[in-house]
Symmetry: C3
Subunit: 381 residues, 3 copies
Amino acid sequence: MRVTFPLMAIGLEVAMIVLFWLFVQYEADQTISQQLNTTRPTKMDSFVQLYPLFQDVHVMIFVGFGFLMTFLKKYGFSSVGINLLIAALGLQWGTLVLGLLHARGEKFHIGIKEMISADFSTATVLISFGAVLGKTSPIQMLIMTILEIAVFAANEFLVAEIFVASDTGASMTIHAFGAYFGLAVAGVLYRSGLREGHHNEESVYHSDIFAMIGTLFLWIFWPSFNSAIAEPGDHQYRAIVNTYFSLAACVLTAYAVSSLVTYRGKLEMVHIQNATLAGGVAVGTCADMDIQPYIAMIIGSIAGLVSVLGYKCLTPFCATTLRIHDTCGVHNLHGLPGVVGGLASIVAIAVGVSTIAMQAAALGSSIGTALVGGLVTGQQK
Amino acid sequence: MRVTFPLMAIGLEVAMIVLFWLFVQYEADQTISQQLNTTRPTKMDSFVQLYPLFQDVHVMIFVGFGFLMTFLKKYGFSSVGINLLIAALGLQWGTLVLGLLHARGEKFHIGIKEMISADFSTATVLISFGAVLGKTSPIQMLIMTILEIAVFAANEFLVAEIFVASDTGASMTIHAFGAYFGLAVAGVLYRSGLREGHHNEESVYHSDIFAMIGTLFLWIFWPSFNSAIAEPGDHQYRAIVNTYFSLAACVLTAYAVSSLVTYRGKLEMVHIQNATLAGGVAVGTCADMDIQPYIAMIIGSIAGLVSVLGYKCLTPFCATTLRIHDTCGVHNLHGLPGVVGGLASIVAIAVGVSTIAMQAAALGSSIGTALVGGLVTGQQK
Amino acid sequence: MRVTFPLMAIGLEVAMIVLFWLFVQYEADQTISQQLNTTRPTKMDSFVQLYPLFQDVHVMIFVGFGFLMTFLKKYGFSSVGINLLIAALGLQWGTLVLGLLHARGEKFHIGIKEMISADFSTATVLISFGAVLGKTSPIQMLIMTILEIAVFAANEFLVAEIFVASDTGASMTIHAFGAYFGLAVAGVLYRSGLREGHHNEESVYHSDIFAMIGTLFLWIFWPSFNSAIAEPGDHQYRAIVNTYFSLAACVLTAYAVSSLVTYRGKLEMVHIQNATLAGGVAVGTCADMDIQPYIAMIIGSIAGLVSVLGYKCLTPFCATTLRIHDTCGVHNLHGLPGVVGGLASIVAIAVGVSTIAMQAAALGSSIGTALVGGLVTGQQK
């Protein structure tokens, strides 16, 4: 760490600056915005509409993900500090990789929409970080950020441009992808000492309340996450409404199931911090479809149920039998609900005709590239 | 609790899903937004304008109210956890009750405006929750949510459609209503042990700072709360400006009075956490009126004064003599300032002519229905 | 304190109300917004565009600055409480002083833009507060608020109207000004006991996480701070993009340098809480210029480097040799990066021709008036 970390961080930043110098430009026709006497939608309109959504997503990435992981009494500062480091590197690298892929290696322009996509790409690494928290050094996280975002961009390109599948709220390409990538890395990093759990792996009263800051800001702004890159108008409006009600339904189911499966009916804090968000993940893929609010609520309820059961049954099973130790339980918050989201979109499309195969391919590719990418990344110790 | 709570929560969620299936639809004419070559205000315009205000209110409901109640050292997690549960149920139920009332039992559409109103309706229950915190179980809170929002919707219908009274920032229909409803419930739940106070009824250094997270987010976004459902243009603009300055004035008075009435002039934390917000409550009813900023500042100053004196004198009096134990002092934050707001609107209208009687009726009805509803609800143990 | 503080606070609030009554009016032509069948940009457009930016800045002032200073274990509540008091007084007084200066003593109108400027003017005092935290009473802070905002308004008038210099993100007029004003006051208040540090001048684990709430909300919303008063269109867009990437680059450099200069390569919390923000300060002055993103990233990297080195070397030197004790290290977060920002703007303008002298005069005047103002204010004990 003594010199490796600073040298690597500075080296990466210098590389970013050079790549930005070579490839990144301001949006050229921004000046159109001045001519407001035109009536067609201008850059200015799109700025006014997108910037608040961008800021909501920005809060989710830095405060939401950062604080959600503070529940462990000894890793509060690491969570929120390394989260900031990963996201700051990730958004620069994500801007580059996504931009170069879509511009086929030419110079490209950045606007608010590209900033939202850059923030999104960091989310995958932050989700994976939840699985390996406490098991990795900052150096390993820098490497993982670079590798995972490259794989993410490749899979996202495959899903959007080759399969032409729909994934507005990114249940598959961000949540399932991030979770399975992280689990694959965690599997590689497994040491037998993790089986019995670690005494640092505990929360205290205050650390659980800090984590609720993360939970609540994620919960509140999730409608913005699922609608930020949706087509303006009907699609965006539906993404907001569906996510709003899916999350509300998810809270009731998650509380109910948590109380059912816990000793003496007490509410388990880790369920409340995480499973209440599963409705946002699961409704993502079909967020902008014409599914009606009550279907969104059913999807949210299923996600809440699946997520709590995952914490209760699957996490211990993974740790002991599969030898995968998932520190924050990202499989239950992002993995399973992401799969639920992918399956829901297949059903939604099946009912309304159309390209089931591509939707299934998108789900498969998101999980497949994540697992392979994660296994390879895990070797880079 | 063992099975009652999960069964009730799941039962309520199933009921919500069925009712949404029967009654709730997307906004039909959202597609107008596509035709941006029209120059009249479209749904799209209203979306761009309302969505940021909605998100501000959303932060107030979940982070603001949730963290404001974390000041008690032993109830931090309950506050923020049960707050989320109540609000998630309340926003579904509020959508239904308000929608059905205004559509006279027909199918109805939901847009951002309806989502703001649904969030508002949950605020009444969250205010009442502050009065009964530590005295009720989650089961009782689910019942209270269903009952209180129904009574709230009835009173709101009375005020807006029958009295045609003005209550933009909802000083009367939300704040006074929520406070007196909660006090009525607290009165019914009174046990003599509460007279001397409870050793759990204490704050510690960290819990007081957590509560400040709630205070600050409420304080910051209060202009959005008071302007979210105001008429766009002048009215909305005035609601923002008046609330901004009323709150600022309230802070100075609350600090001054707190220092005056406290031993050796120290600032009392509970005053700073709560009384600084009274200016937002009190200016609510006349927020969008043409009262001039300095009048808003006078209203805010009076609210800060009344609120601190309420904590100092009225809360102990209520607990010992009236046998009403108000855990978070909601009477001082929402009750009294709500009444100040109602009275201020009567004065404002008296000075500028017009319907004083209806405004007074609105205040009376908000307090009356709250007390009766709360007393009845309190019996449902 | 017993009576002086309450009397002074109430007296100031009464004075504010009288001055608002005499001078402040609603925006007169707000009604234009009703006529949405006009196609030119209306007040309504500007409201829809500015209000979300205003709320972002508002969060920075009250949550960002308030929580950033909670890192000291014994001053958490003072930080966040006195921060609220200062800001509430400051925004009223800032509205008046700025309004009267620009209207040359006539009645003036207030809109969202004036509210943003009022929030900005409080930022100077909050920055200075960071230098004197733990050394001043609430009474002294009330006096400092009144004096500092008056001097700030005078300097801002000089910079904008006489020098006609550019300072969109206010690196010089707010950050450098606030820092040097605070340092001058701290120099006057110096007592020899401060040389060895104080046992209250320590953080604990939880207080450091509280401070991260401040850091993150400042970091997230800084693009709004630097763009809120920029010209709409290209300028505003560039201010957002440049700030976004400058901050990201700053994080990597700050982490790297922190790890280099700290014992055994550990990351120092105070660096992460503060130096990661220096990129936002430093890019402020040229935020809206056509400098290209990679230059913004270079500015951010330099700021991160300078800020960490400041904490490591300059703060101890100031405390022992210069006899200036800077509690929160505002010189490293706002002072030095503000100077970097001023110098960067001189270089940027030099490269592209134009008024270097005026830009240099703006930097000089911001530091000069701050130091003189602070020295005079420090005497008012």
